[in-house]
């Protein structure tokens, strides 16, 4: 199972518990999570299904390359981590 985890920071805006899904790509994993949490989906993705500008996604702690269609592949036990850029100082 692929694990999908959201940064602590996002939890303040929206409910986003860690999830486990079967998926072969980042797009597929997020689609499955967002099917159960639609509000979370619209916070993370834009109308075209790409990542919103302040959001980043990693697979096994490597930043994904495809922000538009989220085609980065997953292994069976991959961890997808969703985080947000911070600007506070």
């Amino acid at each position: 199972m692929v694990k999908v985890i959201f940064t602590e920071n996002l939890k303040r805006h929206i409910d986003c518990p860690p999830c486990e899904v079967e998926a072969a790509s980042v797009a597929e994993a997020l689609a499955k999570v967002f099917a159960a949490h639609p509000r979370l989906g619209s916070y993370i993705l834009d109308d075209q299904g790409g990542l919103r500008k302040h959001v980043m996604v990693t697979v096994d702690n490597n930043l994904i390359l495809d922000r538009e269609s989220l085609s980065d592949p997953l292994d069976q036990n991959s961890e997808v981590y969703v985080l947000q850029a911070l600007s506070g100082g």
């Binding site: 602590e8 500008k53 702690n61 490597n62 981590y81 850029a85 911070l86 600007s87 506070g88 100082g89």
Partner: protein
């Protein structure tokens, strides 16, 4: 040549073989720019002054407010109402009177900032907004001046260093430009020692860069979660279509 007083003052650092006399001399001969003298800039300026960085240029257009003192430990109660750079200078000089400190109490535009950065050895980004962060990255990339970037809010912090060497990513490779999404500590809150954790690490990165030792967090984004007391390290590469560095 270090004086006898300097040899004693910096002895605990000089005795580290990775720093030694040569590293200490490099620090004393260096000029660092600190952008923002709030939560992150406070420990950065204090540690770098104390550690013997020769010249610091402090930039911030804000004044000290009562609500800053909970975490911006370079400012004192008596400094409320003063320019943050002025207040920071007083504290830094009390730690190390031989530091040369320049202060700028307004926001320089891109042209003036370019002139300032061109003359610096390392830039330390402790500011509170994305538009300044992207501007610093553009200029630092242009002049190949290393940039140590920290950010902190609530219980979470982020840290990375950009050296702009061949094959290493820049800030814009990591973050999409989006100036409309600033979350400030003023509006969201921040736990006091969080800025100390991230700011101290920024100072550490700067000291390594100047003394030419160790490995910086280039190509890595360090994420700190104070609630779990955990670090996560994310690796990232230059983006082929990066508008700044590609």
């Amino acid at each position: 040549m270090l004086t006898d007083e300097q040899l004693l003052k910096y002895s605990r650092q000089i005795m580290l073989p990775q720093i030694d006399i040569a590293g200490q001399e490099a620090l004393l001969n260096s000029h660092l720019l600190i952008i923002g003298l709030g939560g992150l800039g406070a420990p950065v300026a204090m540690y770098l002054a104390a550690a013997g960085v020769g010249e610091l240029t402090l930039i911030d257009d804000d004044k000290v407010d009562l609500s800053n003192l909970q975490r911006q430990i370079i400012h004192q109660f008596e400094s409320i109402g003063k320019d943050k750079v002025e207040s920071a200078k007083i504290t830094a000089l009390s730690l190390n009177p031989e530091t040369r400190i320049n202060i700028i109490n307004y926001r320089p535009g891109e042209e003036e900032m370019s002139t300032l950065i061109e003359q610096a050895n390392v830039v330390i980004d402790c500011c509170d907004n994305f538009s300044t962060r992207f501007m610093l990255n553009r200029i630092c990339h242009n002049y190949r001046v290393p940039l140590v970037s920290g950010a902190a809010i609530r219980w979470e912090g982020q840290l990375s260093t950009y050296t702009y060497e061949q094959g290493t990513p820049c800030y814009r490779c990591l973050y999409e430009e989006d100036a409309f999404n600033d979350q400030t500590c003023t509006q969201n809150g921040v736990v006091a020692p969080l800025v100390g954790v991230i700011g101290s690490m920024q100072a550490m990165e700067a000291i390594k860069l100047i003394s030419g030792t160790g490995h910086t967090v280039t190509g890595r984004l360090m994420l700190f979660d104070g609630m779990d007391m955990s670090w996560r390290e994310i690796r990232f590469k230059p983006r082929p279509a990066c508008p700044v560095c590609s």
